[in-house]
Amino acid sequence: MNQILDGIRVLELTAVINGPYAGGLLAELGAEVIKVEPLDGEIQRRIAPMIKGQAFGYMQYNPNKKSITLNLKEEKAKKIFYQLAEKSDVILENNTPGVMERLKIGWEDIRKINPRIIYASTTGYGQSGPYRDYPAYDSLAQARGGIMSATGDRMDPPVKTGPSITDFLAGAHTALCILIALWQRQQSGEGQRVDIAMYDAAVPYLYEEIAWMMANGKQQERLGNAHRSLFPHNIYTTNDGHIFLLIESQQQWKCLADIVGLSDGYADHEKVKNDQGLRSKTESAIESWTSSLSKADAERYLMKNGIPCARVNYLDEVIADPLMNEHDMFVSVEQQIAGPIKIPGSCLNIQDNPGRVIAPGSPLGFHNEEILSTLLGYSSDEIANLKKAGVI
């Protein structure tokens, strides 16, 4: 099957989640992504769990990619990199600002040899601003970016969003910018520089909190699972976990009140919403109804009666969900050393040319010879010498 980015070559110098996620999206769309790693591999290669020595995290964050090693401190390795850059469309990196320039493979160095190159950096704080040189992890971006201060129950300490959301947001915005630059280049013939920051991602993430600040000049109290205007809007205990339900209309309210046995005194939804006592009695009435049921039974019954609700699923339940299977969201693939494994699939569902996860990330340096010989024309003797000299 032909894919949208067939014929596009990406050199990726990334580690952990943010950069690899960006490159993974391009690889899902068919780009030839060559991951360039130091001789001992990027950090993710050393993080457990492992399968036959292959880090599972690495394999799932780097789908469809080829792997080569280059010791970029060596002049010979730099030369190989320049040769590759000449034949590539995109360079993607997530090193601390300044690192690529010091290695003489920064935007200015590369555009001289390939003016069509799209050079994308995705880092913690970006290429400008006072925090530029700070190290960043997702938690730090969530902390400084206000996400933690807006999450969780007001009685608890601030808490982060479970998934490393700023990593993923930065990675996906980077992939978007690269695609934008590729489309622009079709007409202009020129490349561009892309500069994305995890910290910046806190801004779109918090549009709602920012809007609230703009309107009232102060931050809304942390609400936990409650909602500013809807009530009820919460999780309730079942005999095997939790169910989330919410009420949007008087009709739904009446139906729920009947189900959980609230008397006529509760008929007026607006009145209940605005009375602290009635609110807390409502919460206990719902919970005493849900607590004797399983989440599946509670969900089925409430849905049948038109109440918006969903069970709170744990990971095993999410993965087992029939829709995940239907949408191929967890796919069986095979790695050269680890063998058959199951990893997350692609969510880029473009009808005739969907994103696809065909293979997990490759073993370190697996494609050294293929890339050096077929793409750059090195002989096997030359390659052996480069290996001996610690260049690859």
């Binding site: 599972f56 201060s149 808490v159 998934p163 959301i165 934008i180 920012i210 009808q351």
Partner: protein, 403 residues
């Protein structure tokens, strides 16, 4: 560089979900002409709090750069206007839910007949195949069903929703990715495509850190407050005036941290040899967190951050949103800008993340009043005369500014 996005026309139909709104905002930031098609009483987004001077600020932010065209869908004459606009459009963002466009006779199968170059992105909670079509599709319910809530919150507390419409945001973002990828493809094929984006799918790809342990060891990870699923020390620590996050992922960082709090003795302790030992061996993670918090709790947050940064230990304050809005770094990077337009001026308005050197994303005006561009768009794109517009206005097919 000539910006090709300036030649693009995007039609956006958004109801109560924000995914299509975010996708539209991204395309608008990069220069496309994004037209928000709204019913007579406005989209749900327009009617969402908080309000200032009667204007929904959520609408102002999400619908920045866009033009508002107000038509009385699903009246037949109004649907016909959408059919006409779709002939001139490059991209349609449909966030109305799975059967709505079909019911109104303006779905992809209809529209592509008169415009084969059209790219049509459907954004829904569960996708268009109908498996969960009877399910109510609130963003928070997608978080519950999709596992995000099981991973957010304190270790001993209940599941917690992420603080925002996280799955709408990532779904809108990935829809924009698919749209631009398809534009690229269209240069070669001359044809548009149908894009089926689902919150449930995008959530699945964002659980990777946690699904790892299940796929390999059948271990179901659950919420763990601010701890890392892999390394320690890594947590939010109480200070005199708030919290600071200290995050060590390697031995050198751990050693610097131990020195910075005057506990060099811990470095040689074989019990704490690797990040994995510190996180998972015995009661290590709690013991170490107590030692660190014992040190932070008598210090001001900013002092903790300064000491840690000087020692090269990754650390950041847990900032309130007010401090984020005042953060110089974000102003330097144009993530916040001053804004005027549409009758409202804002001292602080969210800017664009799309930082490209030649064609960077920009935000030039907040979302418009309802129907502010109805006449303008119908005149410019469809060549409607003033009389025709007046006539449609009289018949209540359209609403807003027509002259």
């Amino acid at each position: 560089m000539n910006n090709r996005f300036n030649e693009l026309v995007v039609l956006e139909m958004t109801d109560k979900h924000y995914h299509s709104a975010y996708a539209g905002r991204l395309l608008g930031e990069i220069g496309a002409r994004v037209i928000e098609i709204e019913p007579l009483n406005g989209s749900s987004l327009r009617n969402s709090p908080p309000f200032k001077n009667g204007v929904s600020l959520l609408h102002s932010i999400y619908q920045a750069n866009k033009e508002s065209v107000c038509i009385d869908l699903p009246k037949r004459d109004a649907c016909d206007i959408v059919l006409e606009l779709a002939k001139r459009a490059d991209i349609i963002l449909d966030g109305m839910g799975i059967y709505v466009a079909n019911k109104w006779g303006i779905d992809y199968e209809v529209l592509k007949k008169s415009n084969p170059r059209l790219i049509y992105a459907s954004l829904t909670t569960y996708g268009v195949n109908g498996l969960y079509s009877e399910y109510d599709d609130h963003e928070v319910l997608a978080q519950a069903r999709g596992g995000i809530m099981s991973l957010t919150g304190m270790k001993d507390g209940p599941p917690m929703r992420a603080s925002t419409i996280i799955s709408d945001l990532i779904t809108g973002l990935h829809a924009a990715i698919c749209c631009v990828a398809t534009l690229y493809h269209r240069d070669a094929t001359g044809k548009g495509q149908f894009i089926d984006m689902a919150n449930f799918d995008t959530i699945a790809t964002h659980l990777k850190e946690f699904t790892t342990m299940y796929l390999v060891e059948k271990k179901v990870l659950k919420r763990m407050g601010n701890l890392s699923p892999r390394v320690a020390p890594y947590n939010a620590y109480r200070c005199k005036d708030g919290y600071a996050v200290i995050a060590t992922a390697s031995n050198p960082q751990w050693e610097s941290l131990a020195r910075a709090i005057g506990r060099e003795d811990l470095i040689c302790d074989p019990n704490y040899k690797t990040p994995y030992d510190r996180r998972f061996k015995g009661n290590n993670v709690t013991v170490l967190d107590n030692i660190i918090e014992g040190w932070t709790k008598d210090r001001y947050r900013q002092d903790v951050v300064d000491i840690m940064n000087r020692a090269h230990v990754p650390c950041a304050p847990v900032q309130e949103v007010s401090s984020v809005l005042a953060d110089e770094h974000l102003w330097v990077r144009d993530m916040f800008i001053k804004m005027s337009g549409s009758g409202n001026a804002y001292d602080c308005f969210p800017g664009s993340m799309l930082k490209l050197s030649a064609t960077k994303g920009t935000v030039s005006r907040p979302g418009e009043y309802l129907g502010m561009s109805t006449g303008k768009v119908l005149r410019e794109l469809l060549g409607y005369s003033d009389e025709a517009l007046q006539d449609l206005l009289k018949k209540s097919i359209i609403w807003g500014a027509v002259v």
